[in-house]
């Protein structure tokens, strides 16, 4: 549909305009690789089964998708403050089309960023995926992007302003990252945190990426921990539920007019 295409195209234009955002998204995983990688590699080194930097690679790609998709979807908050959201909602398109456009734009941005990062990162850590692995990785990235993009629109539609952004980073982004298996296997966590991990869409995305990239280390316990179909189903479910909630939240009149009403006084 044209409106979805228009919204997605705008997301890409905005992203490319913001040079800092491009550099940050591509550079971020390498900063983690160097600094977190150096520290954790020593802790991990005991059993020589896997180079920690290789172990980190799927998690770092998951992190790129998360930052790419979630932050792009969270830009709905900025859209509201700049009035652009009102403009979209006065267009002859359904609320759910707007939600879908934002989530799809976020997905494609997250996917594009992780493909670029994968092309640089995987050779660096000497990981050469099989063709099947690469394809599964792409599926993982797209599905995670959809789930996280939908989640981002939900968060954006429910917070009032960008000032809540720091809260989102502290209470959503970082816990999601640490409970995703990106930095250490989920199976080492206690039962409570492990349960939390399974409520985390990124955990399924990272698990799927481990299936895709760490197949050779599966025997040593560093591959994916859940069955591939379960990962895919969970991500799809997160995406569908998220989009449904996002469409409903955007449809609420408060989503558009709360600011209009405040100005009116």
């Amino acid at each position: 549909m044209r409106a979805v295409y228009g919204i997605v195209a705008r997301e890409f234009l905005r992203f490319l305009r913001q040079r800092g955002r491009v550099l940050a998204s591509i550079g971020r995983p390498f900063v983690w690789l160097v600094f977190a990688g150096a520290g954790f590699a020593g802790v991990f080194a005991g059993r020589n089964e896997i180079d920690y930097r290789v172990y980190m690679a799927p998690g770092l790609l998951g992190m790129v998708v998360m930052f790419g998709s979630l932050l792009a979807a969270l830009s709905t908050v900025t859209d509201r403050e700049a009035g652009v959201l009102r403009m979209m909602l006065v267009a002859p398109v359904r609320r759910r089309t707007v939600a879908l456009g934002k989530a799809l734009g976020a997905t494609l941005l997250g996917t594009a960023q992780s493909i670029v990062v994968a092309a640089l990162l995987l050779p660096l850590v000497h990981l050469r995926p099989t063709l099947a692995g690469a394809l599964l990785g792409l599926v993982a990235v797209v599905l995670s992007g959809l789930a996280l993009g939908a989640l981002g629109v939900v968060i954006a539609a429910s917070i009032r302003s960008i000032e809540n952004f720091a809260g989102v980073m502290n209470f959503v982004v970082f816990p999601m990252l640490f409970l995703s298996g990106a930095l250490y296997p989920v199976r080492h966590l206690g039962p409570v945190l492990r349960a939390a991990a399974y409520a985390n869409p990124l955990a399924y995305g990272v698990d799927l990426l481990k299936h895709a990239l760490l197949g050779a280390w599966a025997g040593a316990g560093y591959g994916g921990e859940l069955p591939v179909p379960l990962d895919c189903a969970a991500l799809a479910l997160f995406a569908i539920v998220g989009l449904t909630i996002a469409a409903w939240l955007l449809g609420r009149e408060g989503g558009v007019t709360r600011t209009a009403f405040r100005e009116r006084r």
Partner: protein, 250 residues
């Protein structure tokens, strides 16, 4: 099919305990230049948002371009253009990119929208700025771009919500010239909200709102005659007991 572009029947909206719009009965004819005059907080923007389907009415009903605002929001939105009180352009995109984005939202194919966008930019004297970021435009140019975007899909009805707010006198004048030109060229119905009395003078008819109620309705001349006064400002005073400028305190 009636010749009414907008029909409101007992239309009202509450925000919590606040009655923003009481019960509005209004008819705007096709091709009419209609003014909604009143101080800030009188219910003008609420009325526009109700008619544009951005708000759901608390009571009453309204039809815009023949479509019910509750039952058929999409059809209403397809027939109208809305220029918001403050600009809704994306500051990070260029003027042309903003218009292209809007064209896609309104499902116009790029092939058809490209010449239309260029024609509008020429008409609104923005052609040299088409590839500049909106951030670099003056307030008057942004307003012009807002209006160009508002009529991109050739709506039957254009809502202008306080369009001159924040513009200097020269930019205001050129804005009114453009609106006049548009109406002459296309027979567009225009619903204007303003709290500047002099801006309502050229309207075919004016509705005066105060505290969410319609207090007067008629041509500017008839309103002045009925109140036995010489200006719309005095009409407002006669109906509400206070001056527009005074009510404008908050």
């Amino acid at each position: 099919m009636t010749a009414a572009a907008i029909v409101a029947r007992g239309l009202g909206k509450d925000f919590g305990a606040l009655r923003a719009l009481d019960r509005l009965d209004l008819e705007v004819r096709d091709g009419e230049f209609f003014g909604l005059l009143g101080p800030n907080g009188a219910g003008k923007t609420t009325t526009v948002h109700l008619l544009a389907t951005l708000l759901a009415p608390s009571r009453g009903s309204a039809r815009v371009a023949g479509h019910d605002v509750v039952q058929d929001g999409l059809a209403v939105r397809r027939s109208i253009g809305l220029v918001f009180q403050d600009t809704t352009l994306d500051r990070d995109l260029t003027v042309a990119e903003n218009l292209r984005f809007a064209a896609r939202l309104w499902s116009l194919p790029d092939r058809a929208s490209r010449p239309r966008i260029d024609a509008l930019l020429r008409q609104f004297e923005l052609l040299e700025r088409r590839d500049d970021s909106v951030r670099t435009l003056s307030g008057g140019m942004r307003r012009a771009a807002d209006i160009a975007r508002g009529i991109l899909h050739e709506p039957r009805i254009l809502f202008l919500d306080e369009p001159t707010a924040g513009l200097d006198p020269r930019a205001r004048r050129s804005l009114w010239d453009r609106i006049r030109g548009l109406r002459a060229a296309s027979g567009l119905t225009v619903l204007l909200t303003t709290h500047y009395v002099e801006e309502a003078e050229p309207c075919d008819r004016v509705a005066v709102l105060d505290h969410g109620r319609l207090v007067a309705l008629g041509t500017p001349a008839a309103l002045k005659q009925a109140a036995g006064v010489g200006s719309l400002e005095e009409v407002f005073l006669a109906h509400t007991g206070h001056l527009l400028a005074e009510a404008d305190g908050g």
